[in-house]
């Protein structure tokens, strides 16, 4: 049947395994090892008490959720956007902000959805190599600095159409200094710069304070990691009122109601419980610092991570082998069979007990 000629055929994304065996220690998708705030449980009971409200469309502005974020971050609600996970926010941002025809720049080693969205929307893009320490070179994103951006302009004859990078970067965990990030934003007033801060709460400096200074900056965050709510699908973005306005216009023209009532109710409860949030983040950070010392003791090499994972390799064992041997011991981590990083494992930080089990397993594997 020739209807297939009209079909967009894409390489499906392969997500990290979601193992069904409850004995498996799951450290492969950067989830939080702790439950969400107990305020979320209370909100779920309220949802049950008012389940009749589900018959109505939800509040398309997700007002209570936006207001809770506004209070916590001291940001005007008009500068906040929410979506179905940061993937939704980012995909909508590609569609909205990167459509001028110029190439979009992002690192060669980075979140694996960027190139997929660019291809889906037919946006030209350039993957800029990180340096040998997996650090981003600011000069690659600054005009006249003799880096990748200059080459792109020379080669394509057009100015760049946008810039995006995570801070800290994934899957490396490397954080860039805020001054370098500001330099990149300041040097690119002609395109939108997106800083993807999915992991920022675990120790990197946030670019959030810069949104009042630079109209072209979008900061994207998520409830999936530091707020322990991957199952609720909430992402958010912060930017100038004008920038957020464009994003809302595009989103509402596409699908008016995406945040369902449970996401709004439970998400609001989570956003309001700041002390629990700080508590679990600090537990993850202290476990990570302990785990880094253990990895060093075992001979691992890794860039210094400011995220809720560590990206490490061992000089004595290929990444694929280490991955398989850990899996045999019912420990599930993430392995990327890609150039430059195919000897590395991305290991999510779990509870102290889980990470002790990982260290024990690594000791056994490495003899």
């Amino acid at each position: 049947m020739s209807w297939e000629k009209n079909v967009r055929k894409v390489e499906p994304y392969v997500a990290g395994e979601q193992p069904k065996d409850p004995e498996i220690i799951k450290l492969n998708t950067n989830e939080c090892p702790y439950p969400p705030s107990s305020a979320v449980r209370v909100a779920a009971i309220q949802l049950a008490d008012h389940y009749d409200r589900l018959r109505l469309y939800p509040d398309m502005d997700a007002t209570t959720l936006v207001n809770a974020l506004s209070e916590y971050y001291h940001v005007d609600p008009a500068k906040i956007f929410v979506g179905v996970g940061s993937d939704d926010v980012l995909a909508m941002s590609f569609l909205t902000f990167f459509c001028g025809g110029g190439s979009v720049l992002f690192p060669d080693i980075t979140y694996s959805f960027y190139d997929v969205w660019a291809e889906l929307y037919r946006i030209p893009y350039v993957q800029v190599p990180l340096d040998e320490k997996f650090e981003l070179r600011p000069q690659d994103y600054i005009s006249g600095a003799g880096g990748a951006l200059d080459e792109v302009v020379k080669k394509t004859g057009t100015e760049p159409g946008g810039i995006i990078f995570p801070n800290p970067n994934a899957p490396t965990g490397v954080a860039q200094p805020l001054e370098q990030i500001e330099e990149i934003i300041k040097s690119n007033p002609d395109c939108v710069v997106i800083v993807d801060e999915a992991y920022v709460d675990f120790g990197a400096p946030s670019a959030l304070p810069l949104i009042d200074k630079y109209e072209n900056l979008l900061v994207v965050q998520t409830f999936s990691k530091s707020r322990a709510m991957a199952g609720l699908r909430i992402g958010c973005a912060f930017g100038s009122e004008k920038l957020i306005g464009y994003l809302k216009d595009a989103k509402f023209s596409f699908n008016s109601y995406t945040m369902n009532l449970p996401a709004i109710m439970l998400g609001t409860a989570a956003a309001k419980d700041a002390s629990y949030f700080r508590d679990i983040v600090s537990k993850v950070v202290s476990t990570r610092e302990w785990f880094k010392k253990e990895l060093t003791r075992l001979g691992f090499e890794f860039p210094d991570s400011q995220a809720n994972f560590v990206f490490a390799r061992h000089p004595q064992m290929p990444g694929a082998e280490l991955f398989a041997k850990l899996r045999d011991k019912k420990i599930c981590v993430r392995y990327f069979n890609k150039p430059r990083i195919n000897d590395y494992l991305r290991i999510t930080i779990g509870t102290d007990a889980q990470m002790r089990a990982v260290v024990k397993a690594l000791e056994e594997i490495l003899g």
Copy 2:
């Protein structure tokens, strides 16, 4: 700042008013007047009991929800797709199925998002006029029948890139006979035909049984109307395994996890309660039939509706005036200031008591 030159600027969609005054009778967005199944309340309590599961990513295949739909409709799970409301399913379908470059055909009076999605994705489209009774003329969608499709082929030199229409149509409520729909699907093996069945449960014949016969047919439905769950955002699509496979590939490459845990849990509970579902649908239908008689008695003209709304005009009063006068009496209906339909009101079917109040208000307004 010239970053704005790279921004996609769209005309934001204006959704039906969501009035805050609880005294208002809200009949403007085709919501169900009855609460969801009480099984949904039980599922919300289970969510509260297991709120710790929210820390994990949800099942990207929404298996329990898909299986519940599979059981109810006797359709293989591989032929079912679920998304964040039927808007999400439809937008994803435009992106996946209508990208061959040929024009997509849909009625001139129809769901107001079709042209918006086509423009967003830069898909050429043709709006085919309904006849004077707001009925779709099958010959307009069949090659060699001397209708709109032939004209499009002649004018553009390309075959059509896709066909979409709701059945029953919105905002008219008019249902097409299934034989006509089958004729359209059968005559267009070279493109995907989408039948948008958002309102089908209220009396129109579903094209669902045809998915085993035609590989190019996609049937889209929603939980927002007949299952009283607009607040949960669940839409679903049925089609050949191949068609659904393409849709899943596109969706997973775009955003792996869109159905959050509450949507999966509460949606599954709703989908399993078939008897309650049939019960509320039959209540809405019997109220609608009573309301039609009352409208006729009051001198209204309207196409025969098979949906949970009636699309009516009164020869003695312009639509805009009638709309405003009902609003003054705290009754909120939908008015579209568009050619051909600007004298009509779309009135959602509420409870018997609500519809009696509408009839009383109309009697007062019309003297």
